[in-house]
């Protein structure tokens, strides 16, 4: 029987693992979520524009809703007031997802070592690839995306959690903003009655 199939299909058949096939497809179809807050965002736009043309690497479909994205590119400094928003957006992205921290400010706070600026987004959300520079050139971001594609192809899905989620009734966990208040209570800070509202 095997020889019969071989005869009919010839070389038109590959054997691989589901993991490798899924990783290959994912790596070449990244949908970035541009979280651009500062001048790095200009370089991010330039990377996607015609001169540097990110679509050559299969990752040009920028979407401005996190629910359609699987790669968050944090470009620019993130302030204290933005962290709850950043975390909520990260939690809204479906599995599998990756994060690129673009530029000195997103990686370490850069020159802004002040009370309001977070000293590196990796303190609060997971980061896969760091891009140094102030701001990085588009080539550096393209290199970071190629590195990330390499990483995706090599690692794939460790424990298939995203497939597991399909049989769970509740899907991905929502970010609990009350957790922020609980942490502040634990640290002994006084609280007002109103809930923390990052917008107002």
């Amino acid at each position: 029987m095997a020889t019969q199939i071989n005869k009919q299909l010839g070389d038109n058949i590959f054997l691989t693992t589901l993991d490798a096939a899924a990783s290959w497809a994912r790596a070449n179809s990244l949908w970035p979520m541009p979280f651009a807050t500062a001048c790095c965002g200009i370089e991010l736009m330039s990377t996607a524009a015609s001169r540097h043309d990110l679509s050559r690497f299969g990752s040009e479909v920028m979407r401005f809703t996190p629910r359609q994205c699987d790669l968050m590119i944090v470009a620019g400094r993130v302030v204290m007031k933005m962290i709850p928003v950043l975390q909520r957006i990260w939690m809204q992205m479906p599995e599998p997802k990756w994060c690129i921290s673009m530029g000195a400010c997103a990686c370490s706070g850069g020159v802004f070592d002040t009370y309001a600026v977070v000293q590196g987004i990796d303190r609060f959300i997971p980061v896969d690839v760091y891009v140094p520079g102030c701001p990085p050139r588009p080539e550096q971001l393209i290199r970071a995306i190629m590195d990330l594609q390499d990483k995706i192809k090599k690692t794939g899905t460790y424990n298939a959690r995203e497939f597991q989620l399909r049989i769970l009734p509740d899907g991905p966990k929502r970010f609990d903003e009350d957790e922020l208040m609980r942490i502040r209570e634990r640290n002994g800070l006084k609280l007002d009655d109103h809930k923390y509202d990052p917008i107002h």
Binding site: P84, Y115, A116, V118, P126, K173, E179, L189, K190
Partner: protein, 169 residues
């Protein structure tokens, strides 16, 4: 900016606050007047009625460790007469624990966000403001970061957030 226009607002202020200790000064042709905090509304209302129709800026200065300063905070009103082009700086001084001053929103509506920003950064309370809360920082923020005794790197507020790990998200 004629001599007569200058004496105009001096007379206006002295008429509005007859017994107050007004201090007039000049720095590089910029006219300044120091008004006690209790008479600030009377002074600003009189100046508005006398033609100072625009509040260019409302801000504050923390004079902690400032050479020769006797008061802690200084609230500064920068006024402009849009007809004559005349400008005037009105200053008033405040000290802890009584950091309260009447709001200027009934006089110039543009003072709304300026007063909220001054409260946000210095903790000076403007009484009678229609919507008094922080402007820039989160409501749960506890300090006033533009005060000179507040460290530049903060008191850990910037890192007081839950950490989302790869396993959780």
């Amino acid at each position: 900016m004629t001599e007569s226009a200058e004496s105009d607002w001096k007379q206006v202020l002295e008429k509005a606050l007859p017994s107050a200790n007004l201090r007039f000064s000049e720095f590089r042709n910029q006219q300044r007047v120091d008004v006690p905090a209790s008479g600030i509304v009377a002074a600003l209302t009189a100046l508005r009625d006398a033609g100072m129709d625009q509040l260019c800026d409302l801000t504050a200065v923390d004079l902690l460790e400032y050479p020769g300063a006797t008061d802690r905070f200084e609230v500064v009103y920068l006024l402009l007469n849009t007809t004559s082009g005349q400008r005037l700086t009105v200053r008033t001084h405040l000290n802890e624990p009584d950091l309260k001053i009447p709001s200027a929103v009934p006089i110039w509506f543009g003072a709304d966000w300026l007063e909220r920003e001054v409260y946000d950064m210095y903790g000076i309370v403007f009484e009678g403001h229609p919507n008094f809360k922080r402007l820039l920082l989160p409501d749960a923020f506890e300090s006033f970061p533009m005060r000179k005794d507040y460290p530049v790197k903060g008191r850990g507020e910037r890192h007081n957030f839950p950490i989302i790990t790869r396993a959780e998200s």
